[in-house]
Symmetry: C2
Subunit: 317 residues, 2 copies
Amino acid sequence: MPTTYTNLDLVKQCDKFPYAQTEPETYAREVSAIYKFHVEGCSSVLGFMLPSIVQDFQWSSAWKVDHQRKTVLLCGASVGERDENMARTLAAERQRSHFKVLTGWRDELYPVYGPDHDVLVNVERAASPLFGVVTYGVQMTAYVKTDLGLQVWVPRRAATKQTYPGMLDDTVGGGISSGDAPFASVVREAAEEASFPADYVARNARCCGLVSYFDVRDQRAAPGTETGLLQPECMYVYDLEVPPDLVPRPNDNEAEDFRLLRLPELCAALRSGEFKTNCALVLIDFFVRHGIVTPEGERDYVEIVARLHRRLEFPCA
Amino acid sequence: MPTTYTNLDLVKQCDKFPYAQTEPETYAREVSAIYKFHVEGCSSVLGFMLPSIVQDFQWSSAWKVDHQRKTVLLCGASVGERDENMARTLAAERQRSHFKVLTGWRDELYPVYGPDHDVLVNVERAASPLFGVVTYGVQMTAYVKTDLGLQVWVPRRAATKQTYPGMLDDTVGGGISSGDAPFASVVREAAEEASFPADYVARNARCCGLVSYFDVRDQRAAPGTETGLLQPECMYVYDLEVPPDLVPRPNDNEAEDFRLLRLPELCAALRSGEFKTNCALVLIDFFVRHGIVTPEGERDYVEIVARLHRRLEFPCA
């Protein structure tokens, strides 16, 4: 690992799964070893599961596991049935305490979409990396235009957080639970995490795109849990320009404090790897959209912009 | 073809080549039929050539064509040698008048990059789709913030233009020739095509990312020329906010006139397919970045944003 991360190094820290077009052999080898997660009535592959995970699961009769074809099929003719089967299996696994990622149980469901953007099943958030399904989040960058140039409000994650403790973060962010919409989610998170007034955020936050990547979880994701789990993610990115007197304050236990960082400080923190890995991607995307990272200044510009917007192999929201 | 184009329809009009991850059989079939363009001393595939084009070319001894492995190799130990070999072959082909795309000869070179971002060879612009190499351009959207909301300056392409005559266009755009840089190119094109003062553009234009896609040329690209040619492209996108009194005027023969269009007019023109195909993509990207196309309002948001930023299979700038 380099001690000074380039922007491309940072992108590669999150976008780790091989690309079929450019690494056909590696891709074919990895994918052929992986189990494909399906649900009844839909032919699409919805997630990639590690063989070790599939072996260790205690599958009930609600599942059809085919070790020849390497498929894991969840039975159930309706979303309701599939949700019930999924919940029952995961509750049993949680009780059994075999999978370490389930110690981070959230009591929060994540939707899994089919090719027509319909929800096919809902999965406990902590279990989503076991199935390798696409998860969704919102990330908002709050910035101030000052005489010293653009500055960004950056929180440090609480040392007690389950994932990426103590690292720098985007101003506001969070996962999108089943039934939630991106904009509503970012407005609520902004109030909860940063004490931003909901009406101000609702009027001024602007969705500016999506950062997507295919991560392979390492130790930092949640210390002490399974590594190598596959985690394709889509983060809706929001910009919020705030006046100098609208200062974020921690409101829940997510952030320790907020600091207003100038560009050189932001770049230094990126270079030294202080940002939570996917937050670094959101900040690089912010820099690209704001003309701070430019084609003339960044030799890997084309590669970086493409990889910040990976087209995933699964149906998406 | 639908009479009302969705945003995803418009993206698909430019991003036509199959994706290996999601359409593995189609991709493998297409790629196995295609010849791979190489240059001496570099193992990377630099472009995709149609078999019919490879058959019809009159290859000199400066080329090694392997019909078994389906490769076309340009010899030459240095860029200078390869440029000379390429130029000589293309001059002969131009004289022979076999390839119709060469009737659009520009006397302008396009760079072809290797994996270290080094230029491996330069190709006459009109010939680039014969080799299926990545081409680069700049596109700038000039907009005005008014009481009626955001409005965009939209030119209509001259009826005499070789490509996409009479269609609507981005405010300013053009290809990036060998030796040129994106920002310098957009400043110059803005003066040439729209009479925007160079100093204003240099101070205020902002690079906001890259739109990339893999096109398969149809009849509209250049009426009367070969269709099916493969054209991977990278467009650096720029935003330029202009005051109401900074009005673009046609300065060369590129544009017939400029009109300031409001959002409903822009959307109507997109829906009816009036925009040049890749300009529609740049406008959709602009709408995404400015929060006009949103996750809540666009059902295909995730797919659209990813496909506006395709990672190409070739080394890039």
